[in-house]
């Protein structure tokens, strides 16, 4: 079920360069045109078009009935979306910062995630939660967390982590069409970055990893914001004659184990990089899956790089120390190759 070919879309021929934010907006607009039951609900999603302007203009096309501005009530908004999703609509709930998911956990975990199962399959909750992760924006401890590991640990929820404008569009469209609740995390730092996005109808199925760059010496499994870091590391090490393969799971649930394990078996050396806190985070599961299924191919233990286990500090001189960088990933790769 996984496509292992590294899709390096080139601009031109049915492909445009879009910013991450434009790609998200395009996905929402296309799905809202296609299906009248799709609507967006959240704080300042209307005229303001979201503080990051990700949703700018949607209200002009779809009006306040389908781009619903709300009070500052994350739990209430999410609960209302769950009820709407159970009764024929397809809400996309915008949670401005992933940190605010802490306020909606009961609605997402005890309600949305379990209703299909608890009802013996009778009720469905086709809900999308659209939110952010990522630090280094100088936003301090309550606006910088990457909490996707929590949701990946909750049966009934799917979790998408788009790393490029192309993936942002394709995964969001798939999430909206999915009949289960899906939490989509976007790196708030990448909204203005540009990348190629195919013209026209285009969906990326949930559960299909992508080899973002092929290589031979070390596999770097990277998620979301860390994909760009991994690709930068690959460029950096190429000069040293070290070849990295960069694999992006794109969704933690469902997880495309096959693609991860195949790459690990091929290179024998693996680094997992994710911006969530290192301990008890996503890197632990990905590293364990690889260790379990590629154990006898591994020349060394899987290395894990995540955010430092600290609340995110405000001061730039401190904040920049807390997240993996091309330098720290490169150092790990050299160590794995005994070139440190």
């Amino acid at each position: 079920m996984s496509t292992r070919s590294p899709v390096q879309v080139q601009a031109g021929a049915g492909v445009r360069e879009l910013t991450f934010a434009q790609a998200v907006r395009e996905a929402l607009a296309e799905e809202m045109r296609r299906d009248p039951s799709v609507f967006v609900i959240g704080e300042d999603v209307g005229e303001a078009g979201h503080p990051f302007k990700v949703l700018a203009g949607l209200i002009d096309e779809f009006g306040p009935e389908r781009v619903v501005d709300t009070p500052i009530s994350e739990a209430g908004i999410t609960g209302i979306a769950v009820g709407a999703a159970m009764t024929g609509l397809r809400p996309v709930v915008d949670i401005m910062f992933g940190d605010f998911l802490t306020l909606a956990m009961d609605q997402l975990v005890n309600q949305a995630a379990k209703i299909h199962y608890m009802s013996g399959g009778k009720l469905r909750v086709p809900l999308v939660v659209h939110t952010t992760l990522g630090a280094t924006r100088r936003s301090a401890a309550q606006h910088s967390q990457s909490l996707h590991a929590w949701f990946s640990h909750v049966p009934g929820l799917k979790v998408a982590l788009p790393a490029t404008p192309r993936d942002a569009k394709g995964l969001l469209k798939a999430a909206i069409r999915d009949d289960s609740p899906v939490v989509v995390f976007e790196d708030k730092m990448t909204y203005q970055l540009r990348g190629p996005v195919p013209e026209g109808e285009f969906v990326i199925p949930l559960g299909v990893a992508e080899v973002k760059r092929e290589g031979t010496d070390v596999t770097v499994v990277a998620t979301s914001s860390m994909v760009a870091v991994a690709l930068a590391t690959a460029d950096l090490l190429e000069a040293e004659g070290i070849s990295l393969e960069v694999v992006d799971p794109r969704t933690t649930v469902p997880l495309d184990r096959e693609t991860l394990v195949a790459s690990a078996a091929k290179t024998g050396r693996v680094i997992v990089v994710d911006e969530g806190c290192r301990s008890y985070g996503v890197t632990a599961e990905l590293a364990s899956v690889i260790a379990e299924e590629a154990f006898y191919h591994l020349d060394a233990p899987v290395r894990r790089l995540g955010a430092m286990d600290v609340p995110v500090p405000f001061s730039p001189v401190l904040e920049d120390l807390t997240v993996p960088t091309p330098e720290t990933v490169a150092a790990a790769a050299r160590e794995l190759l005994g070139k440190a």
């Binding site: 609960g79 009820g83 609605q107 005890n110 209703i115 608890m118 009720l123 289960s180």
Partner: protein, 334 residues
């Protein structure tokens, strides 16, 4: 109709036809007899887990659901058997669910606290206090958006007044004039604590503060509940927005089937007072007989018919098969 004022009612209590009186009595006696069996199942260790019995509160579920269309929505609570039955659930499939059988409404996956019956408009009981306030409000938003004229009823105990999400969604329901009815079943206790120790100010002032018309009714008088429910439903269908009903009621038995020694939090006298003087079944039957609408024999016949239905339902549920082990990881994802 006042916005943010008392919900105006047509009358203090409904005049009923013979059919209505017998139908609502049947609804209440079905809940009563069903749950007496549930209690016995627990005491004879035939039922897994616990159940929170609704006995004593029957008039609330039956009076409210009498005012609803089959396609209207309800959400329910941990004390939800009464709501499910009043909205049309069958006793055999209810028993089956409580016994964890495959014939249950949720194929045994939900149990007592999670019975859902979408075909009957029941979006599910909820084991999180206040947990369905958002769901009911969202169903109302959906009904309004789809223009179906459906309303959504959110049943909850007064303990849910402690949950902040209730105020978040009441605010939005009021802002957006959603067709939702918040039915607060005030049975005086949050588990083992009197609601006066957990609830500052007056209950009705809370919805009123959000511009939601509210009224308090005798939850032991199904006719009073029906009148209030009809007014709230009519308001919702007219597109005028949410309402809030406080139904003053009482649970005759423990917080759950295992709560047998209750003396430390409420008196025998209090329990007796409600059971003997404020029983919803006796009250309705007594009124109807006095009105000459029906005879005690009519009501006895209804009770006997329901008794037979309950016995048959229980028997079939006891004999029904458990779900196949392969079902354990089905229905995680749609």
């Amino acid at each position: 109709m006042t916005v943010g004022g008392r919900l105006s009612l047509e009358a203090e209590a409904a005049d009923l036809s013979r059919e209505e009186a017998l139908r609502m009595f049947e609804g209440m006696v079905r809940i009563r007899l069903f749950e007496q069996r549930v209690n016995q199942l627990y005491q004879s260790a035939k039922m897994p887990g616990l159940a929170h019995l609704y006995i004593g509160q029957e008039a609330v579920a039956v009076g409210v659901c009498e005012a609803l269309r089959p396609d209207d929505y309800i959400t329910s609570t941990h004390r939800g058997h009464g709501h499910c039955l009043a909205k049309g659930a069958r006793v055999d499939r209810m028993f089956a669910e409580l016994l964890g059988k495959a014939d249950g409404y949720c194929r045994g996956k939900g149990g007592s606290m999670h019975i859902a019956d979408p075909d009957g408009g029941n979006l599910g009981a909820n084991a999180i206090v206040g947990g369905s306030a958002g769901i009911a409000t969202g169903a109302a938003l959906s009904a309004k958006r789809r223009g179906t004229g459906q309303v959504a009823v959110c049943f909850f105990g007064e303990g849910a007044l402690g949950q902040g999400v209730l105020y978040e969604v009441m605010n939005m329901a009021s802002l957006w004039s959603l067709p939702v009815i918040y039915v607060c079943e005030n049975n005086l206790y949050n588990e083992y604590t009197h609601y006066r120790e957990t609830t500052a100010g007056e209950v009705l002032d809370r919805p009123l503060a959000f511009g939601i018309p509210a009224v308090s009714v005798d939850g032991q008088d199904v006719r009073a509940v029906l009148v209030a429910a009809r007014a709230a439903v009519a308001r919702a269908r007219r597109g005028e927005g949410p309402s809030f009903l406080e139904c003053l009621t009482y649970r005759y038995l423990g917080h759950h089937v295992g709560d047998v020694d209750r003396s430390y939090y409420r008196s025998r006298e209090e329990e007796e007072e409600w059971k003997t003087h404020r029983d919803p079944l006796a009250t309705l039957a007594g009124w109807a007989v006095a009105q000459g609408l029906a005879t005690q024999e009519d009501f006895d016949r209804v009770r006997e018919a329901v008794e037979a239905e309950v016995e048959a339902g229980l028997r079939s549920a006891l004999e029904a098969p458990y779900p196949d082990p392969s079902e354990v990881d089905q229905h995680v994802y749609a």
